[in-house]
Subunit: 249 residues, 2 copies
């Protein structure tokens, strides 16, 4: 039973939550009081299913996914009211992505809190996935304190702002497939053909899938990725960078 | 300029919002006062882009999508705490789907409020899509009254409860592709092969795509749909119903 929490664990969680530096008075107060049911919710956000099949972060993660999406929509509307719906949608996909969550999780060092069972402990490939998932669960748990996205926006808006500026400066790095498709259309070519191979069966393996891109029947680039989508995006990015170098774009 | 609202329109919107029968005192009060900026938000939820390229429901719809997802997650957690994360995810996909939104939109007769330009007025195919989109925008506008999903849950929980019971009783009707895949695996067959053809270019056309399903090389069923996904789901459902009739499932 991992949900019995001793004083050391309570203090560890409290210190971690303070380190998030969420500028909300009511959130600071609720942490300060060390309310046991609140702390238990947070504790659950850090427990992987390999440690406990019942009490783990999965349900909070499912909830956190929806919270994150709403908070990101809210951020975009406040910060970038001039963006079209299509642009909002592309930006939102970036700032709620699994990669983004893992990056955030690394930044806040959530792995220090995560409790895994023996099976996941030895598995290097799943490490980043678990960091991202626990971070999403943490977002779910923060929302639940007051059933409000206010604390999420107070916490994440500044981080999102930096990431959004990066994205809006060089969107081709992120939405390579769209850029490549538009390039083909502008040249009157057929759409690019993506061929995917599963080269490993390991979940989380960054080289699990390989993707070749063919333009007008010619293989123009290849790349790996941990999912179909990631391999395709990587191969498209490689190709766009090649085109930029050659002055074709 | 469709965002200048006369008294007749204000009354029409107020009457419509009352008819939703959302059991929230603060929501009733805010409608009763006919606060112009609130009414303007709602008015925008009913304006299609064919009427006004700038002031229309698209941004509210984008926002409403995230609101709906969070409110549905909240509903599922309260009502079906026993469901696994996989089951929650399947159920949520159903109760936030485009089809579900269109069904809700028809029920509340949102089309009486929708303002379209000449191009969309004549287009029967886009009618259902627009009803669903405006309904999603309306959900966004209701959230914005208090930045809270509370009113959404007060409005939709009973409707979701009925729909969820239907879904949980006969999930194969909704997740036909999963059921078909599992059936193939249980028989030791290869996975079903879906072949898609675009038979019409009309957006919203219910017969835009056709899908054939092949099992072990034999064509076993065909169906139409307005999207790839819809055509595949329809063809899988036809096939499962055929298997049930023949006693194969």
């Amino acid at each position: 039973m991992t949900n019995i929490i001793n004083t050391k664990r309570i203090n560890q969680i409290t210190t971690f939550l303070k380190s998030l530096n969420i500028k909300s008075k009511r959130f600071s107060e609720i942490i300060e009081t060390q309310n046991i049911s609140v702390i238990q919710d947070f504790n659950q956000a850090f427990i992987h299913s390999s440690e406990d099949k019942i009490i783990n972060y999965e349900k909070l993660e499912f909830f956190g996914d929806a919270v994150l999406r709403l908070a990101a929509s809210n951020f975009i509307e406040k910060k970038y009211p001039q963006l079209s719906v299509g642009e909002r949608s592309e930006l939102r996909a970036q700032i709620v992505s699994d990669e983004w969550l893992t990056k955030l999780g690394r930044k806040i060092e959530i792995d220090k809190l995560i409790i895994k069972g023996p099976k996941a402990l030895g598995d290097e490939n799943s490490k980043n996935t678990i960091i991202g998932e626990a971070t999403e669960a943490l977002i779910g748990a923060v929302y639940k304190c007051f059933n409000s996205i206010q604390e999420i926006n107070l916490w994440l808006d500044n981080i999102w702002e930096e990431d959004s500026e990066q994205f809006l400066k060089a969107p081709y790095k992120y939405k390579s497939k769209t850029v490549l498709q538009e390039w083909c259309q502008s040249k009157g070519f057929d759409l690019p053909v993506y061929k995917i191979m599963e080269v490993s069966k390991k979940n989380g393996d960054l080289k699990r899938f390989s993707c070749d891109i063919f333009i007008e029947g010619l293989k123009e680039s290849s790349a790996f990725g941990k999912s179909h989508k990631q391999a395709e995006t990587n191969a498209a990015r490689v190709l766009i960078e090649k085109f930029i170098t050659k002055g074709k774009i």
